[in-house]
């Protein structure tokens, strides 16, 4: 009897303990979900409209749950102050310039606070900080935009309908392309020509390839130009000298130009007078004519003088000396040859 009672007591004890364990596990699970047992910091945000946000809703940062909504209360004129509890281990990742907005967990899910943005240069948020709030579009505003989009979509589909109708009726370029055989033939011919052109281009490319391979052969002019550094140095030297010659020629031409300009401008100089003064030229011509006639007369006089008995002897003597002069030179040459031998 006593053993039975004892056994029953143990069974009841086990029944109660297991039941309580289930209860405690449930409580702990809910607590960990709601971040009840983790240490948190309080952050304040002030919204114009919280769109049905409730205490206990989640706070997300980059898609990760980092806290919950702790308090929602009115503040001032139609403003709502929301106190968020953010777990300390996530505190370092949220920056002071991060923004907050009310969003939805999925399309029809619960309202959540989404924290986003923030730059690395700015320090992390601290207990009591206030996050900047971004106004989001309400469901009605979203639906209004959707309605507008629907209208636009309707317009686009109507336009497409008209276009497809025109195409079917053979109107417009595309319609004609589809329905007109001539246009098709033209396009076909063009394509054939293009095909031929591409074949030619292929042949040309092959020729070019052969040509370039020849250019690359060692010993060729182009290859030497490309590879022989001595030739290039010589060419550079030649070009340098050519440049110098051209510079000298330029100077000479400039001098000539200046001289001609001087001749043109200075008509009093002897050359200027010769070039430009016709009277002087006439005089000079006359003088030259006189000189010519004088020279002829002087020749006649000299011939006459040779025949004169007074000077005849002198001229004969001179002729004799001239006749002797080649014999002396031959003897000198022979002597020189014998000495050298």
């Amino acid at each position: 009897m006593e053993t039975s009672a004892r056994k029953r007591s143990i069974t009841v004890g086990l029944f109660v303990i297991i039941g309580l364990i289930i209860f405690i596990v449930g409580i702990l699970t809910i607590g960990s979900m709601k971040k009840v047992f983790s240490s948190t910091i309080s952050v304040k945000t002030i919204f114009d409209d919280v769109n049905g946000l409730k205490v206990g809703n989640n706070v997300w940062y980059s898609g990760v749950k980092i806290g919950t909504v702790k308090t929602i209360r009115f503040q001032g004129n139609s403003k709502v102050e929301v106190i968020l509890h953010i777990e300390e281990k996530s505190q370092e990742f949220v920056r002071k310039n991060a923004k907050a907005k009310v969003s939805t967990d999925g399309l029809i899910g619960n309202k959540i606070i989404v924290i986003y943005g923030g730059t690395q240069k700015v320090p992390s948020i601290e207990d009591g900080d206030e996050l900047v709030v971004e106004k989001i579009e309400s469901t009605e505003e979203m639906l209004a935009v959707l309605s507008e989009n629907n209208k636009n979509l309707l317009g686009i589909t109507s336009a497409f309908k008209t276009i497809s109708k025109n195409i079917l009726e053979g109107k417009g370029t595309v319609g004609m392309l589809l329905s007109d055989d001539r246009l098709y033939n033209d396009v076909d011919q063009t394509l054939a020509a293009l095909k031929k052109a591409s074949a030619n281009a292929q042949v040309m490319t092959a020729s070019l390839s052969g040509f370039t391979s020849k250019l690359n052969q060692p010993g060729g002019l182009a290859n030497d130009f490309a590879t022989d550094t001595v030739i290039m140095r010589d060419i550079r030297g030649t070009i340098g000298r050519l440049n110098e010659t051209v510079a000298t020629a330029n100077v000479m031409v400039a001098n000539l130009k200046s001289a001609s300009e001087d001749l043109n401008s200075n008509r009093t100089s002897p050359l200027g007078v010769l070039l430009h003064d016709e009277a002087t030229a006439t005089n000079l011509k006359g003088t030259l004519q006189n000189l010519e006639s004088s020279t002829e007369k002087l020749d006649e006089n000299m011939v006459a003088l040779r025949s004169n008995f007074l000077f005849r002897r002198y001229f004969k003597k001179k002729d004799k000396e001239q006749a002797k002069q080649p014999v002396k030179e031959e003897v000198k040459a022979e002597t020189k040859d014998s000495v050298s031998q």
């Binding site: 029944f15 109660v16 039941g19 449930g26 709601k34």
Partner: protein
């Protein structure tokens, strides 16, 4: 039947109803008076806990499992209509934790435990065993009523914990067979929407239901009369009245909990 006689009958019915309420009230007060006075009949309490709790565990567990599974199965098409099948774990968890587990446990217990207590105490009353206890200087109220009411008040919340766990298990089984959801994912989703208020409300309900089942069963059995017919009537009344009161309490507790829910 004259009008005078009709009036008499109606008055008698009303009188007996009001008298039952008054007697119930007195019984209720006596329970608290006896519960906190004198030595607790611990062995009897453990025995009753065993009879109410352990003996009902299999039935409650099985019912909870089936409830979780069937509720999940029935809810799926509605959610699938607008592509929200992924919300099934949350929906089922909310339904089980907030209402189904406590209600199923209470209704099954009302049928099994309430009728058992009513019949047992009723038979003891009609066979004058209770009177014999009084004669032998044993307080029958403390020994029979207080232990049974306390046992049902303690064990029915614990049965509800079991029922919740098993119902969620049934729901998980159905979800994982259809959607292939993992165990962790299911329970993450399930507990996501449950709050401490839900658990607290559910616990308060289970305590209230347990107390109601115990006190109604004991009252009906303790005040049974008219022989064996009275035993059957006591058992029947215990089930009917406790179930009725359970639904009344459900409404009141939900209203109060919604007041705290913002």
């Amino acid at each position: 039947m004259s009008d005078n006689q009709k009036e008499k009958v109606y008055t008698k019915g009303l009188d007996s109803a009001l008298l039952a309420v008054y007697n119930g009230y007195v019984f209720f007060l006596r329970f608290f008076r006896e519960a906190f006075r004198g030595r607790m009949e611990l062995q009897e309490l453990i025995k009753q806990c065993y009879a109410i709790g352990n003996k009902s565990l299999l039935l409650i567990g099985l019912t909870g499992f089936i409830t979780g599974m069937v509720f999940t199965k029935q809810s799926r098409p509605s959610l699938a209509e607008f592509g929200a099948v992924s919300w099934l774990p949350s929906l089922v968890a909310i339904a089980i934790v907030r209402a189904l587990a406590a209600l199923v446990t209470a209704l099954i217990s009302a049928g099994k435990v309430g009728s058992s207590i009513g019949a047992e105490l009723g038979s003891m009353r009609v066979t004058e065993q209770i009177d014999a206890m009084e004669v032998s200087a044993v307080n029958p109220f403390k020994f029979l009523v207080v232990t049974r009411v306390l046992a049902s008040t303690i064990t029915i919340p614990i049965l509800m914990f079991y029922c919740t766990a098993v119902a969620l298990l049934g729901a998980y089984l159905n979800v994982t067979l259809n959607e292939g959801t993992s165990f962790i994912s299911f329970f993450e989703n399930a507990f996501e929407q449950i709050t401490f208020l839900d658990v607290g409300t559910s616990l308060a309900k289970a305590v209230a239901y347990g107390f109601t089942i115990g006190i109604v069963g004991c009252y009906q059995g303790y005040n049974a009369s008219k022989g064996t017919e009275g035993v059957g009537k006591a058992a029947n009344s215990a089930v009917v009245i406790s179930m009725f009161l359970i639904f009344i309490e459900e409404v009141i507790i939900v209203q109060v909990s919604n007041y705290f829910r913002i």
